[in-house]
């Protein structure tokens, strides 16, 4: 390139040269700007795609969750029809009677040792207890089970006296703050309190449910919220989300967190407004193991009618959409989609101005739709991954427009450049997607081969995308994602087997059919939940007979076509049989996905 050397020209550059020079600079700048804007847009799109993947998979899992609930309902309804050789199992599941034990009976079982140096609460609670807890949790201390129980009993007592709907008054001098999902992310709650102040009579809060699951501090969040509620029952309002549910907690991590943090194995969840559940308690003498579980699903509770339960699901699971009318929420498998016309109708009917709800992760932490009548607020930043989304909270009062505050937690003192953050969440999303693919490998290959008449091993983009969407049931931009998942030849055709190349499910035993391995891997979360429920004493072991019975029932309800004998053989070969009992955690752990290019050996198996 022959760029004139300016230094040779001396001071006497003519104005023509100056103009030419500045014109060149202008054009060069245009090139760079043009390129950068294209690159930046593609980065943002990749980020959005990653989020779409996370969200699709999350909702598909929620479908699985509701399917599992249906399975339990199915079993409950068919209790009398269960063949005679299964009665032991079903009794174990449903026969446990509800004993209304006294609060004092439970508290009497627990002693706080002198060596305990965690936070000590004083009843009746005051605002100093809130501060105490926050400081303690900042130092990663764990609240003793004794206090946890006290708080829970007290909260339950107060909540039971409250109506399902609470009314609160605001004014420009007394604004209310509304927060969305927190999902166990303590740092987000700390940030909100730091920026917005602690709850008090002059600083009221509404928390829109989903306090627990997924994050690692569900218990701490719950304790802070409940204690704050007990101190300010008229100014701290807690609404129920779909994760305030015993079965969800088993799948999405709250139960696991409790079992991990509290070796006493206490599982507690008192009722929160908008529920109709009750406590199911069991006591194992000699080891002071206390297990309290609130069965909130309609299948276990006898206090909710089927219609009531359906209403609860509608309230806790539905999402607003642009299409008019009300139709089933096929993404989640429960609740419905409701359009702007429905919103208007309901708001007008009850003379309400707007609906503030949560339940959906939004990149900016909040989103307004339905002509400003519906606001979604989501307070767990980095919900899927670091960098995936911002969190937000709203301040409002009657007569003023709502104000939105956004934030994003980061571990580093300054943000990594955007492309690094996007890379991180993109890799994570693609990884999850690949694991999904491998768990349906047999079905996918069958679908591909059906379309591959010539047995060439190749399909057109359209054919490949069609099969992927159909088999996986995920509505994703397959064409745009294809470059991450498969190899394409120069004619634009896809080598469909290439999608399975760098990932496989570890076979716990060599001589087992792939389809069985895939099936167990695919349903591992469901199986884990079922086993946990059977394992009422939390020993980690269930009898071989129960194991087999459960598998048979599961198989028939989920229409899984695997030979019983194969499953038996698998269990036998895995040699997990310990004196007639099977260690099901070991069993499930043995099924994990190996990513070829991982440095670690195991991928993240997100078991409940």
């Amino acid at each position: 390139m022959n760029t004139p050397n300016l230094e040779d020209m001396g001071c006497g550059t003519s104005s023509a040269t100056k103009d030419k020079k500045s014109e060149k600079a202008l054009k060069a700048a245009l090139v760079i700007q043009n390129w950068y804007r294209g690159y930046s847009a593609r980065l943002k799109t990749r980020q959005r795609y990653a989020l779409t993947i996370f969200q699709s998979i999350e909702y598909a899992d929620e479908q699985g969750q509701l399917q599992l609930s249906n399975f339990f309902s199915f079993m409950l309804e068919n209790y009398t029809n269960v063949p005679e050789k299964e009665p032991g199992l079903v009794t174990r599941l449903f026969g446990s009677s509800i004993q209304d034990k006294d609060r004092q009976d439970y508290l009497g079982l627990i002693e706080i040792p002198d060596s305990y140096c965690g936070p000590r609460l004083q009843f009746p609670l005051t605002f100093t207890d809130i501060d105490l807890l926050i400081e303690a949790f900042k130092q990663q201390q764990i609240l003793h089970a004794y206090y946890v129980l006290e708080v829970l009993f007290e909260t339950k007592k107060v909540l039971q006296q409250m109506p399902n709907f609470t009314h609160t008054n605001t004014s420009p001098s007394k604004e209310i703050t509304i927060c969305g999902d927190l999902h166990g992310k303590l740092d987000d709650l700390f940030l909100i309190f730091y920026k917005n102040g602690l709850p008090s009579v002059t600083n009221p809060y509404v928390f829109n449910g989903d306090f627990v699951d997924r994050g690692k501090n569900s218990m701490e969040i719950l304790m802070i919220l409940f204690v704050s509620f007990l101190v300010y029952p008229n100014d701290l309002h807690l609404n129920r989300g779909n994760h305030e549910d015993f079965m969800m907690n088993m799948r999405y991590g709250f139960t696991k967190e409790i079992l991990h943090k509290y070796k006493m194995r206490s599982v507690l969840m008192p009722p929160i407004p908008m529920d109709g559940d009750r406590a199911e308690k069991k006591n194992k003498l000699g080891t002071a193991t206390v297990a309290l579980g609130i069965r909130t699903s309609g299948s276990f509770s006898e206090q909710l009618t089927k219609q009531e339960w359906e209403q609860v699901i509608d309230i806790l699971w539905s999402d607003p959409r642009g299409k008019r009318g009300c139709y089933p929420n096929t993404n989640r498998g429960g609740g419905c989609y409701f359009g702007p016309d429905i919103t208007s109708k309901i708001l007008n009917k009850y003379q309400l101005k707007m609906l503030v709800r949560s339940h959906e992760c939004k990149p900016e932490g909040y989103e307004i739709c339905h002509d400003g009548k519906v606001i979604t607020v989501f307070s767990a930043s980095n919900y899927y991954e670091e960098g995936s989304n911002r969190g937000a909270y709203i301040r409002m009062s009657s007569g003023t427009t709502p104000r939105f505050f956004q934030y994003q937690i980061t571990k580093a003192t300054c943000f990594r450049p955007l492309y690094q953050r996007v890379n991180a969440i993109e890799s994570s999303a693609i990884r999850m997607l690949k694991e999904r693919m491998i768990s349906r490998k047999t079905d996918l290959i069958r679908a591909f081969q059906l379309q591959d008449r010539n047995k060439s091993g190749k399909l057109s983009m359209g054919q490949w995308a069609f099969s992927m969407e159909n088999v996986l049931g995920l509505n994703l931009p397959w064409r745009s994602l294809s470059s991450h998942l498969v190899t394409t030849d120069k004619d634009g055709n896809i080598d469909y087997m290439s999608g399975f190349q760098d990932v496989h499910i570890q076979k716990p035993v060599k001589e087992v059919q792939s389809s069985l391995i895939e099936t167990v891997y695919r349903y591992r979360s469901d199986l884990q939940i079922i086993f946990n429920i059977i394992d009422s004493d939390h020993s980690g072991l269930i009898s071989m007979e129960e194991f087999r019975s459960m598998w048979r029932l599961f198989k028939s309800h989920y229409s899984v076509h695997i030979d019983d004998s194969q499953f038996d053989e698998l269990a036998e070969r895995m040699d997990l049989n310990k004196d007639g009992s099977i260690d099901f955690n070991e069993f499930l752990k043995a099924f994990y996905v190996v990513h070829k290019f991982d440095q670690l050996n195991k991928s993240d198996t997100k078991l409940a």
Binding site: R48, P417, S480
Partner: protein
Amino acid sequence: TVAHQVPLSKGFSRQEYWSGLPFPSPGDLPNPGTESTSPALAGGFFTTEPPEVAVAEFHKKIKEAFEVFDHESNNTVDVREVGTIIRSLGCCPSEGELHDLIAEVEEEEPTGYIRFEKFLPVMTEVLLERRYRPIPEDILLRAFEVLDPAKRGFLSKDELIKYMTEEGEPFSQEEMEEMLSAAIDPESNSIHYKDYITMMVIDEN
């Protein structure tokens, strides 16, 4: 991406600014299709399929890209995201060209939303005509070199800021900060553009 209101005086079309530069005119450039820096362009975009199939595939691809930004699932997107969608499909319009495209897909009375029904035919034609081709790596490198006539191999932070925010179709502050966060070498406070370009290209492939 915010669609800037580009001053109408800067009516550069791509043809104009290509021919002004002291490096090869488009005719001599390698075919952008084979040297694309974006995976969006790889894999089946320009194939040897018959035109009807190609159009159908374009439609699906455009729909996919559109849907990702269609938050309410009602076949509309916020007009401020249209630039991002178009660029995600592998096109690189200038801000001025983008402005014109938006005018084509907007409603008679702009609502702030763009409907898919209007977007699809316009975008299909853009793709079929291969308009707004992306800039190949070597042209990009040469552009940086033009701004670095002393051939130091880098631009100072101030120099880059000056060019990007004062010349051409200026960056917003957000765009400038974003570019700097990845491009700048914090120790020397300068941008080693060759390394930067290489890094960006690797990132996309």
